[in-house]
């Protein structure tokens, strides 16, 4: 029986953890001085040995990625922190940056030392004004106190951080599109190879890492590789911030060790489903990960275990839907998202997502035809594996998986022109589960909120 745990989130409930004083009082900045004593190569080896896997979605081992960075190229080396967080259902990085921004800055300083990089960029999504403000304040304090800048803590190591706001494009979370966007261009994916590690930002060696991945680094340095490996499973070490949304009693961000089951998370942290509802389907890691059903609730939070169950751990954005909710409507909603966010660079994704969305609209307005299911299948097959980047593949996830597990709902819809009785299009929109684990708008100035986001 796994228990929730507070490592990355250990300071979340401390009201002033976002100030340097609060952060240090709660044990912050004890890893950086230690890390500065360690040779860069040894730090990379430590992160590799600890088994940290990327938290941005793909689960690629962070230490291995760092070890690919060529040395002595004569060009600068960059660290780019991916804070674009636009995957539907995902809100872990936002809370981390709002409540504990120094944790990220400490991680950046250590990572830069490990990579022998003097400049890091944080690419934060344009809507994240409040987290951005928190980060800006933290950066000012960190520079003034010598935790960032030239010769940090007298070590001779220089680390400069630049915060860059995105401008609203999901695709800019994809690492190569992100790099183009950072360079002031349209954010469209680049052809690989060359990989960013070799030729990334301004054609220089670049490591792109998710916020949560970087926030793990100080803990590995401070508590040690063995401690880190003792959390989680053999192949997925450490803890995971799980963002739960949907028809549960208490949605929110919860930290669990890898290896916990989805059932444990829903029942313990979220106090179960809303009254009178049962799990029908869920996305384990955001909208890009194939849906799973009630029978998969005992699958473990582990990159390989979720893959074995036919889905992906992704960002661990757990979106839970009940027996009252139509999966076809949910799939239409996600399809509209991908149609809107397709960057237009390649034909399968640009055209395919458009046609998929048309078919959903036709079916759900009562004009579905039996061959529509086959059209969905075929269009998905033409997108999957034929798209330029992973967004195209992701667009097919909710469709293929819902057709696999809930074909009867689709068949009923095209046969009768309406959803089966008892299923509602928008049962996911509910107002009675607003009770949050933590108030999320605690110190938020009234002027920085959704209303001022254009």
């Amino acid at each position: 029986m796994a228990e929730p745990i507070a490592v990355l989130s250990s300071r979340y409930d401390v009201p002033d953890a976002h100030t340097l004083e609060g952060y240090k009082r709660e044990g912050g900045y004890s890893a950086l001085p230690q890390a500065l004593e360690i040779a860069p190569g040894d730090l990379v080896a430590m992160v590799k040995e600890a088994g940290l896997r990327g938290r941005g979605g793909a689960g690629f081992p962070t230490g291995v990625k760092w070890s690919f960075m060529p040395k002595g190229t004569g060009k600068p080396t960059y660290l780019v922190v991916n804070a674009d967080e636009s995957e539907p259902g995902t809100f872990k990085d936002r809370e981390l940056m709002e409540r504990d921004p120094f944790q990220l800055l400490e991680g950046i300083a250590i990572a830069c030392h490990a990579l022998e990089s003097e400049r890091a960029f944080i690419y934060i999504r344009g809507e994240y004004l409040f987290p951005g403000m928190r980060l800006e304040e933290a950066m000012t304090e960190a520079y003034a106190a010598g935790y960032l800048g030239d010769d940090i803590l007298g070590s001779g190591v220089n680390v400069h951080v630049t915060l860059h706001y995105g401008a609203g494009a999901y695709i800019c979370g994809e690492e190569t599109a992100l790099l183009d966007s950072l360079e002031g261009r349209r954010g469209q994916p680049r052809l690989r190879p060359p990989f960013p590690a070799v030729a990334g930002l301004y054609a220089s060696p670049t490591a792109v890492n998710n916020v949560e991945s970087i926030a793990n680094v100080p803990w590995i340095v401070e508590r040690g590789v063995d401690w880190y490996k003792s959390l989680g499973t053999e192949k997925s070490a450490g803890t995971k911030l799980v963002c739960v949304s949907g028809e549960v009693k208490r949605p929110g961000n919860y930290e669990w060790p890898m290896g916990a089951t989805f059932r444990e998370i829903i029942e313990t942290s979220c106090e179960g489903m809303l009254d009178g509802r049962e799990v029908r389907f869920f996305a384990p890691g955001g909208s890009s990960t194939p849906l799973l059903t009630a029978e998969h609730l005992d699958v473990e939070l582990d990159f390989d275990a979720v893959a074995a169950a036919g889905s992906l751990l992704g960002t661990a954005a757990l979106m839970v839907y009940s027996d009252k909710t139509s999966v076809v409507e949910a799939a239409r909603n996600w399809t509209k998202f991908y149609e809107h966010e397709s960057c237009g660079k390649c034909t399968p994704c640009r055209e395919g997502t458009f046609w998929l969305s048309q078919v959903y609209d036709r079916m759900l307005s009562g004009g579905g035809r039996p061959q529509d299911l086959q059209i969905l299948d075929e269009v998905c097959d033409n997108i999957f594996g034929r798209s330029f980047c992973a967004l195209g593949d992701a667009a097919t996830s909710p469709i293929k998986s819902s057709l696999k597990y809930f074909r009867d709902e689709y068949e009923h819809l095209v046969e009768h022109g309406r959803l089966p009785d008892g299923l509602e299009p928008h049962a996911g929109i509910i107002t009675d589960n607003a009770a949050r684990h933590r108030p999320t708008d605690f110190a938020q100035p009234a002027t920085v909120r959704a209303g001022s986001l254009r």
Binding site: G126, Y165, G166, G184, C343, A446, T447, S452, R454
Partner: protein, 179 residues
């Protein structure tokens, strides 16, 4: 006097022939960005904060200042969802929320504006008359708190002075100068 300043700036290749002071603020941002082409998105953010939207005129102006082809500026601006190209309300009030303005009470100004006109910042009143918005920093910290009303920079504002000024502007008959 304002015309003299505008003419002076125009002679230096800065500012905009229309004399709209927001272009001068945009120039400050451009200078801070050292006219680097890769700063385009940051500059677009500021331009939109200032003008409420990105008109063709603004895009061409930025293209010229950054020495980029207009197609590139247009292509980038239209790619991102946060940029909009249609004019918001007939009048606009943009409150700077940069640090200097913030500590001198910019938030109070926004709250009072919102309350007085029943609108939230980033939005336009129902009658389409007034858009209230906030900007991250318009780069005039010495004049804090700054509110840009219909393209005119007003300095050292208080909630009362802003409300009075906006009230006057709204009461005026529509003129060509109003955006």
């Amino acid at each position: 006097m304002a015309e003299a300043r505008t003419a002076e700036r125009a002679a230096q290749g800065e500012g905009h022939p229309s004399g709209d002071e927001r272009f001068a603020l945009l120039d400050k941002t451009l200078r801070k960005a050292r006219y680097q082409q890769d700063q385009l998105i940051e500059v677009l953010h500021v331009a939109q904060d200032l003008f409420g939207h990105l008109s063709e005129d603004i895009l061409i102006y930025l293209a010229r200042q950054l020495k980029l082809p207009p197609s590139r500026v247009y292509g980038v601006a239209t790619f991102y969802h946060l940029f909009s190209f249609t004019a918001p309300g007939r009048h606009s009030a943009t409150v700077c929320m940069g640090t200097a303005c913030f500590v001198k009470g910019a938030e109070e100004i926004v709250q009072q504006l919102e309350a007085a006109h029943d609108v939230r910042s980033g939005q336009t009143t129902e009658d389409g008359e007034l858009t209230v918005s906030t900007a991250r920093c318009v780069g005039s910290c010495g004049l804090a708190p700054v509110v840009v009303v219909d393209g005119v920079v007003t300095s050292h504002q208080t909630a009362e002075s802003t409300l009075a000024h906006v009230g006057e502007v709204l009461a005026k008959e529509p003129t060509e100068a109003s955006t």
